[in-house]
C-alpha cells in the first residue's frame, strides 16, 4: 500500500506562500514607515517559518512620472532591502517548546535579530522587527467572488461569509525609521518576495498590490490572447521593478481582458479602453508594488488614493499604501466595476474577526484553533 506512488504532485511550501503585503506610516505618530508581509494562509498553531526561504522586503524611492490617462510612476534605483531569515528551532519536534530565532539583514549591512512570536520584536539600526503567528487581518467572501466570475453577475450577499474568519497567518512586520534607513522618499515603492535560499536565490513569489494574482489575473476565460496560460507562475518569477519584456504583453493582455470583464458587471462602461484595447488601470496595476507616502499622516483607508489622484491629475492627500484592515474587496470591486461612479459595492463582509491594533506589532494575536487535529 505505502509503495504505491506514481509521481509527485506540485507541493508548494506554505511557509513560502505570501498572502498579503501592507505598507503604512506608523499609526503611533512617529516618523516610521511600517511594512508587513503575511505568509502561510490558514496556518495551524504549529506553523513555523522556513529555514530555506529568504523573506525579502524591497523599498525604492518613486516619483510620479505622468498623470492623467498616461499616469505612471518612475521608480528610482536606490534600493534598500531587508532579508528576514529563520533558524531551525532546537526543539522543533516539540509543539510547545519550539522557539524559532530570526534575523533581518539589511542591504546596507546592518543586522537585527529577534525571536519568533516575541511581541516586542527585535530592534536595531532604526528598524524594529516582529515575526510570528497573528490573526489574518484580511476578510473576503471567496465563494461569491468565484460565483461572480462564473455567473458574470455580482453575486455578493447582504451578509457574506468570511472565507478567512478565525484564521491565522505568519507575519513579519518591519517598522523602519525611514529618513535614517531608506534612501530618498517620502514616496516609496514596496514589494515583498519569498526566495529559495542558496548561493543563487531563486524568486518563488512576489507580492505588491493586493488581489492582483488571484482576483485580477487568475481568470483565463476572458483573455483571448492567452486563454490557456496559467500566468501566475511566470508573473511571480518577475522582478517587480523590472518586468521582462518577454512576457509583459501577455500580462498586459490578461489585465486588459479581465479588467474589461469586471467593468461589464454593472451593465455600463466606466473604463473605456484606448484605441489599442488598453484598460486605463492596466499600466498602474502592472506597476505591481505598493506606493506609500511616508510623510503623510496614517489613514485607515487610503489604498490606491495616490494612483487615483494621478489619474485625475491632482495631488494625493493620503499616504496611499495599505493598512491592515482596509475593506479591500469592497474598494477593489467598486474601482473595477464602476470606477467610483456608482454605489459602493459591498461583498457582505465588512470586518475581520479581530481588528488590528495601532500599536506595534499591529496585527491582532492569533485566533484559537477551531477544530481538533485529525
Amino acid at each position: 500500500m505505502s509503495d504505491h506512488f506514481s509521481g509527485p504532485r506540485a507541493l508548494a511550501d506554505p511557509a513560502a506562500d505570501m498572502s498579503d503585503v501592507f505598507a503604512f506610516p506608523s499609526p503611533e505618530g512617529t516618523k516610521d514607515l511600517v511594512m508587513a508581509m503575511n505568509v502561510f494562509s490558514k496556518a495551524g498553531p504549529t506553523a513555523l517559518f522556513s529555514d530555506a526561504v529568504i523573506y525579502r522586503f524591497r523599498v525604492r524611492p518613486v516619483t510620479v512620472a505622468a498623470t492623467g490617462s498616461r499616469a505612471a510612476f518612475a521608480v528610482g534605483s536606490d534600493e534598500v532591502s531587508f532579508d528576514c531569515l529563520f533558524d531551525v528551532p532546537i526543539d522543533s519536534k516539540d509543539d510547545e517548546r519550539a522557539v524559532q530565532q530570526g534575523r533581518c539583514n539589511f542591504s546596507t549591512g546592518q543586522v537585527t535579530t529577534f525571536q519568533v512570536n516575541d511581541e516586542g520584536g527585535g530592534e536595531g539600526a532604526g528598524v524594529r522587527v516582529f515575526a510570528g503567528q497573528r490573526s489574518d487581518p484580511f476578510f473576503l467572501d471567496v465563494r461569491m467572488v468565484e460565483k461572480t466570475v462564473a455567473s458574470r453577475k455580482l453575486a455578493f450577499k447582504k451578509v457574506g461569509s468570511d472565507t478567512l474568519y478565525g484564521t491565522n497567518v505568519l507575519s513579519i512586520v518591519l517598522k523602519v525609521d525611514w529618513p535614517k534607513v531608506l534612501r530618498g522618499g517620502p514616496l516609496f515603492a514596496v514589494v515583498c518576495e519569498t526566495l529559495a535560499a542558496g548561493k543563487r536565490p531563486v524568486r518563488i513569489e512576489r507580492l505588491g498590490r493586493p488581489e492582483i494574482k488571484n482576483v485580477t489575473l487568475s481568470w483565463k476565460q476572458f483573455d483571448q490572447t492567452n486563454r490557456n496560460l496559467e500566468i501566475r507562475d511566470l508573473y511571480n518569477s518577475e522582478d517587480a521593478f523590472h518586468v521582462s519584456s518577454d512576457y509583459i504583453e501577455a500580462y498586459r493582455a490578461r489585465f486588459n481582458a479581465n479588467l474589461a470583464f469586471f467593468d461589464t458587471l454593472d451593465g455600463k462602461v466606466d473604463w473605456p479602453l484606448d484605441a489599442q484595447g488598453n484598460h486605463p488601470l492596466t499600466n498602474l496595476l502592472l506597476a505591481d508594488f505598493l506606493v506609500v507616502d511616508a510623510s503623510k499622516e496614517f489613514r485607515e483607508t487610503s489604498y490606491f488614493e495616490i494612483e487615483q489622484a494621478m489619474l485625475k491629475d491632482r495631488a494625493h492627500v493620503t499616504p496611499g499604501g495599505r493598512w491592515l484592515n482596509e475593506d479591500l474587496m469592497d474598494f477593489l470591486f467598486t474601482l473595477y466595476v464602476n470606477a467610483g461612479n456608482g454605489p459602493r459595492i459591498n461583498d457582505g463582509v465588512d470586518a475581520p474577526i479581530a481588528w488590528s491594533s495601532k500599536v506595534f506589532p499591529y496585527l491582532a494575536p492569533p485566533n484559537p484553533p477551531k477544530a481538533k487535529p485529525l
Partner: protein, 357 residues
Amino acid sequence: MTNVHPMPTPSAGWPQTTDGSIAARNLDAQIEGLQADATSGYSTAEARLRLIDLLVLRGRVLGRIADYRGAEQLANRFVRKTGSAESFLGRARIHALFHRFPAALDDLNIAQALSIDRTTAEEERAAIFQGLGRYDEALALRQQAVARCASFESLAALAGLYAERGEIETAQQLHVESQLRYRGVSPFPLALLDFQFGQMWIHKGECKKAQNLLQLAVQRLPGYVPAQGHLAEVEAEIGDAEHAVARLYPLAMSSDDPDYVSQLARILRDLGRTEESQHWCRLAAEIYSSLLVEYPEAFADHAAEFWLGPGANPHKALELAQINFATRKTPRSHALLSRALGANETLRSGIHGTDGL
C-alpha cells in the same frame, strides 16, 4: 532529456529545502487550518481538495493509514455534499490510492464531464493506468505532459514510470533532470522521488544504491516512515540486522501500517529470535486480516508478502496474490503471483513427499 548534468547532492546543500522537522510541523499546521474550515463550512472546493491531498501526503510520509481513512471520509462527504467536479476528482484520487482503479476511472470521467480540465484529468488518468500496469497508455500520457511542459512534476512522474517498467537508464536520466528543474523549497517532492528510486534499486537487488537514495530521503525528512522501513530492509539484506531491528522497533510501535511489524517479524526470525518474531507475526496477521476486510485490493500485495514470509501461510498468500494480480497487471504483481504459486507447489510436493514416505 538530452543534457544530463552531474547531479549536485543534498550534502552539498543542493537544492536547499525546508528542514524536515519544520516541514512536518507545517504539514500538520496546514491540515489543521484547512480542517477547521472544512468542519465549519467555510471551505472552498479547492481547499477541500487540497485537504484531501495533504492528508494523503501525511499518510504517505508518516505511514499512517488513519490519514488515508480521514482523506477517504472527507472525499466521500465532499461528493455527497457538493457533487462538484473537484469532489469527484478528490474521490478518484482516493480510489486510486486504495487500488480501486475502475472506480477511480469512473469518478475521473465524471469529474472531467463536469469541468475538470483535460490536462489535470490526463495526469490523473496516467497515474491510474500506471497503477493498473497499463504502462503503454500511461507512458503516452506522461510523455505528452512532458512535451506540454517539462517541469519537475511531469519529468519526475515520467521517471517513476520508467523506473516501474524497469528501464533504469532512462529513469535515472529523468530523475536527475527532474531534480534540476525543482524550484520549490518543500522537501516532500524530492524525498518522495528519492524514495521511489530507492525502491527501484531494492527491486533490482542493488542494496547499496537503494541505501544511498533512502538515506537522502531520510536526510530531507527524518520522520519519513516508509523510507526508514525500507532502509531497515536494506540494512538487513546487507547483513546489518541489528541496526535494522533498532530502526524498525519505533516504526512497528507507532505506525498503523502492518508493514513494519511484518518486516520486524521476518528479521527477528532470521536472527533466530523466534519468540519475539512470533509476537510480531501474530500482530501483523491480526492487522492485515482486519485491513483486508476493508481494503482488499490495497493490502493484498503486502499481506501476500507477509504470508509468504514470516506469516508462513502460502495458501493464503496465493489467494491474496491472485487478488492483487486481478487488480493490477504489473511485473511485480506477476512476480508475486509466481512466487506464491511456487511456494504452494513446494508445499504440495513436501506434503506428497511426506505422504510417500
